[in-house]
Structures are given as structure tokens and as C-alpha cells.
């Protein structure tokens, strides 16, 4: 080829492109939790809460995380989004009162030991409990993330949702593995 003889020119071109590549981003979240975060956001649109159980229109709708937060910065893009005429907030919660102020509560795997007490205390609250603990949905939780062939999928305990007066859309159920207590 014409510029065959000038290999060094190509080498410089290669180095220039390398040098121009963007520097390391201060981003360390893993993809698995980015997917889970996006699911949490989507769940809000596919679940109906009894209107009186939601905070008044124009106020906040809340996703809480209890226990060690595995998301890192993956939940940040959710903050401030408008859902159901309310502003989405995301926070780490620990007190019983804060827990009950959430519409979706993500229960971290770190809370495995105290899961029975936690679920018991939320029994009457109109909260969609979500976790990633084996058997969570069978034990009375509502949605449990599972790992399936390189994809994040989920189980839903429809009876548990119904008993709280929560309606899960058929589009969501269609993708879920439906389990019973």
C-alpha cells in the first residue's frame, strides 16, 4: 500500500488515539446493580398502590434501602424522576418509622438473619418489599431478584401483594416467576 513504508507514522497515530481516549471515570458501580436499580424504577409503573396509601400528589414517592447498600451510585439516576405525579426519592433507611414511609423497600442481603422480624413488622404496611435473598418471595416477600443465565430476573409472590391491597400489572407478572408462600 502507498503508506506502507511509513510504519512509524501509523504507530504515532495509534498512540495519539490511545492518548485521546477518555480517562478513567469515577464510576465504580457494577452492571448487575444498574439493572436492578432500573427494575426498581420500572416496578413503580407496573404496581398500583391504593391511592390513600400514597403520599399526596405533588409530594414524594420513596424507594428505601435497608441494610448494607449494594447499589453504590447505581440508584443515583433515579433521584428526582417524576412517577405517578410525584417526585422519586431514594434513601437508606433504618428506623421503623422511615421503613414505613417507603413505597418500595429493598432489603439488603445483609439483613438475611433478621428477615422474619422485618417482614413481620411490615405485614400491614402497603410496601412492595424487594430483595435478593434465596427464598425471599416464598417467605412472604413480594419481589425477589434472581440470577438466570447472565440475566437479572425476578420472582413475585402475588398472594403476598394481594393481601396488602397492591395490584401488580399482568405485564410484570408475565415476566416474573410467580411463587407462593
Amino acid at each position: 500500500m502507498r503508506f506502507k513504508g511509513i510504519l512509524w507514522l501509523r504507530a504515532i497515530a495509534a498512540l495519539l488515539v490511545l492518548w485521546a481516549a477518555p480517562g478513567p471515570a469515577a464510576f465504580a458501580g457494577t452492571r448487575e446493580y444498574e439493572i436492578k436499580a432500573a427494575y426498581l424504577y420500572n416496578f413503580l409503573n407496573y404496581i398500583e398502590w391504593p391511592e390513600q396509601s400514597l403520599p399526596p400528589a405533588g409530594s414524594n414517592i420513596t424507594i428505601g434501602v435497608v441494610g448494607e447498600n449494594p447499589f453504590g451510585p447505581a440508584l443515583d439516576p433515579l433521584k428526582g424522576k417524576q412517577v405517578k405525579g410525584r417526585t422519586l426519592t431514594v434513601k437508606e433507611v433504618s428506623s421503623a418509622e422511615d421503613l414505613k414511609g417507603c413505597q418500595i423497600l429493598f432489603i439488603s442481603a445483609s439483613e438475611k438473619e433478621r428477615l422474619p422480624q422485618l417482614l413481620e413488622s411490615l405485614k400491614d404496611a402497603k410496601i412492595v418489599t424487594v430483595s435478593e435473598i434465596d427464598g425471599f418471595a416464598q417467605r412472604g416477600g413480594i419481589i425477589n431478584f434472581i440470577y438466570e443465565r447472565n440475566r437479572v430476573r425476578f420472582e413475585i409472590n402475588q398472594d403476598a401483594a394481594r393481601s396488602k391491597g397492591l395490584t401488580i400489572s399482568s405485564d410484570l407478572l408475565k415476566l416474573a416467576r410467580v411463587v407462593k408462600s
Partner: protein, 374 residues
């Protein structure tokens, strides 16, 4: 300009364009509003923000992303089918580290009747992968090669010859020694494989490229197979953090015994290192350096005679070293009719080349890959 060359090049480029076209079509299709959300925003999402994806798209999104042509493993239970088109354009004669003219080749080698001035190679590679466990991934690869070579005679006329056929079947196992594919981060993978002599070593074309002439065995580089078994040991390092993925791999081809034409191709030592940056969920450009060292032919094929008429038929003029710089990008289709498909396109050229020549040097190369995991 030789017509067959034009045809080959055009065919290769056309394939690349068709793939690009399909890809952009599927991207356009996927930008239609879905589930009432503004999907037009999806391509402009910030890194790490998947909230623009619909439920169905999240459902089908791979956690572990494959980024670069070359090394990867799969999580337990996953199958993958892939196709790769590779094109190499070799032009210009080199000896040692520098270019030489055909006149110099003839002057330095009185026994040569021909000098090769250009070679094109097209390879269609099919591969299947399966992971019986998170630690072990199995792979089988078979390719179909087409080659053509332009010859220059001492009388300054040219002709070309063509060869094609299936390549040697390669079977490989990749075992993760350190790290965990589901967690990502740093991983060290031990590779071990075997190459089987399924490719032909007796591909022929007409003498002087003239259909009225008898068939003649084509030279070593024009044979699609090796005729011998080979061991394929290797080691792969894979790393990722956030939007970045990088890795390095070395694979050796240790050829065994002699083939039915009483020779054995030289061993090959391949090393590659790369870095990729995920700009968004479906687009990751990357840069790759690939180095290869290969040896001379051991023994000799008696078909070329005691005094071969070209350098390509000389067992002692086959070895070389080359480092290619390759630039590419990886596109994952997270939605639309092409969902779950992955396309990789890379092109490159040598930044270092040292050939035990006279041998043809590499001008440029392009690789187009498609994979689908399920």
C-alpha cells in the same frame, strides 16, 4: 487491476455494510416509543443509567458484557453461536524489517521465477461456545478460507492463483483459575486446546493462472490446513471496573509430527492486549494490540521441487514477527428485533513487522464479528 481482487474486496466490504445497515435499522426500530416512556432518550443516557430501558429490555440484558474480539468466557449454562469474517490485504514485499522491490527479489534470488506482489485472504469463521459451569467454557471453531495471490514473472507479466477450503478444526477449554465471572473484576483463565488437521494441504490451481495449463499445488501460505495436530495452550487475563474493560491473552500453537507431505508448519505465538470503554449500554469502542511470532516450516513438501520457484514455496522463508494496532467497537443490541445480538467491527494495520523474507507484508485487516448468546 485484477478483477478477482476487486470482487473479493467488494464482497468483504459489502458484508460489513450489510451488517452495519442491519444494526442501524434495529437501532432505529428500537427508538420507537415503548410503554409510554420516552425511548428517544435512551441513546443519550448517562453511563450507568438504565432507567430508559423497558421491563422487557431489562429482562433480556446481559449482566456480563463481552467486549472485544478474542477472549471471553460464559456463565454456567449459556450457549453462544458466532460468526466472524476476517479480511487481510497483503501487499508489498518485505525482507527483514524493510520493504524491497520485486526487482531486488529477482536479483538476490536467481532461482525464483516469480515474485508475489499481493495476497488477499478472506476467512469465514464459525464458532460455538458452551459453559457447563461458571469456571469452564468450551469452544469449537471452524473456518472457511479463500486466498488469492498475484504473481509477477521475470518478464514483468502478472497472473493470479486462487485457493480455498476449510481450515483446521480447533477445540478449546477455558478454565477460570482466579476470579468469578459473575462478579467481574480481575480474572485469570487457563486455556487448553487442540487443533485437528481437517483442512486441506493439497489445494491446487492452474499453472500461471491459465485454465489451459495443468493444475499445480499452491504454496505453503495458500494451503488452508496444516496437515498436523497441534496443541493450543494459553493464558488469558480479563479485568473490568465501571465502564472500563481490559485484558491480555497469549495462545500458542505447538504443532506436532509431520503431515502427509512431509512437513510441519512453524509454531505460532500469539499475544494480544486490549482496553475498551463503554460509552453507553450498547456502544463500546476499543483499542487492541496484537503481536504474533511464527516460525519456519520444518521439513519440505517435495511437490515444490528441490529448487522452489518462489519464496512462498521455500520452507526457510516463512517465519516472521508482526504487531498490529487494531481499533474497533462493540455494539450490543439491547432492544428491538435484533435484541441480544452483538456485533464487533475492528480494523487495523501493522506497527511493527519483521519477516524472514522475501515475504508479503500486511497492509490492513478488517474483522467483523457477530455473536448471539442464549
Amino acid at each position: 487491476m485484477n478483477k478477482r481482487y476487486c470482487k473479493n474486496t467488494v464482497r468483504g466490504l459489502r458484508l460489513a455494510f450489510v451488517l452495519c445497515g442491519l444494526l442501524s435499522l434495529s437501532m432505529m426500530e428500537s427508538r420507537a416509543p415503548a410503554m409510554g416512556m420516552d425511548m428517544d432518550m435512551a441513546p443519550f443516557m448517562k453511563p450507568g443509567d438504565l432507567t430508559g430501558l423497558s421491563l422487557q429490555e431489562l429482562y433480556n440484558l446481559d449482566i456480563v458484557q463481552m467486549n472485544v474480539l478474542g477472549a471471553h468466557t460464559h456463565p454456567a449454562g449459556e450457549f453462544m453461536v458466532g460468526y466472524q469474517f476476517m479480511y487481510m490485504d497483503m501487499e508489498g514485499i518485505r525482507s527483514g524489517g524493510h520493504a524491497i522491490s520485486p526487482a531486488e527479489v529477482f536479483a538476490q534470488n536467481p532461482s525464483f521465477a516469480f515474485a508475489h506482489t499481493r495476497m488477499e485472504m478472506e476467512e469465514h469463521m464459525f464458532d460455538v461456545m458452551y459453559a457447563p459451569s461458571d469456571r469452564l467454557t468450551l469452544m469449537a471453531m471452524l473456518s472457511y478460507k479463500q486466498m488469492s495471490m498475484v504473481h509477477l514473472t521475470r518478464a514483468n507479466t502478472t497472473f493470479s492463483q486462487h485457493g480455498d477450503g476449510i481450515n483446521d478444526l480447533q477445540v478449546m477449554g477455558m478454565y477460570t483459575l482466579l476470579g468469578d465471572i459473575r462478579k467481574g473484576g480481575n480474572r485469570l483463565v487457563l486455556d487448553g486446546g487442540m487443533s485437528f488437521p481437517t483442512g486441506s494441504i493439497d489445494v491446487r490451481d492452474h499453472r500461471l493462472g491459465d485454465p489451459s495449463q495443468p493444475l499445480q499445488k499452491l504454496e505453503y501460505p495458500m494451503q488452508p490446513g496444516s496437515g498436523t495436530y497441534a496443541l493450543l495452550p494459553g493464558l488469558t487475563y480479563l479485568g473490568d471496573a465501571g465502564r472500563w474493560a481490559w485484558g491480555a491473552q497469549t495462545i500458542e500453537t505447538i504443532r506436532l509430527g509431520r503431515n502427509s507431505s512431509s512437513y510441519r508448519l512453524g509454531n505460532e505465538y500469539l499475544g494480544s492486549a486490549w482496553g475498551a470503554y463503554g460509552v453507553c449500554e450498547w456502544f463500546a469502542p476499543y483499542m487492541r494490540l496484537e503481536g504474533k511470532v511464527w516460525g519456519n516450516v520444518h521439513g519440505a513438501d517435495p511437490a515444490y521441487g528441490a529448487v522452489p520457484a518462489t519464496a512462498e514455496a521455500r520452507p526457510d522463508k516463512q517465519a516472521g514477527q508482526r504487531v498490529n494496532a487494531l481499533f474497533g467497537f462493540d455494539v450490543y443490541v439491547p432492544k428491538g428485533i435484533m435484541m441480544g445480538n452483538r456485533f464487533t467491527i475492528e480494523g487495523g494495520f501493522p506497527i511493527y513487522e519483521h519477516l524472514t523474507g522475501p515475504q508479503l507484508g500486511l497492509s490492513w485487516t478488517i474483522n467483523v464479528g457477530w455473536t448471539y448468546a442464549f
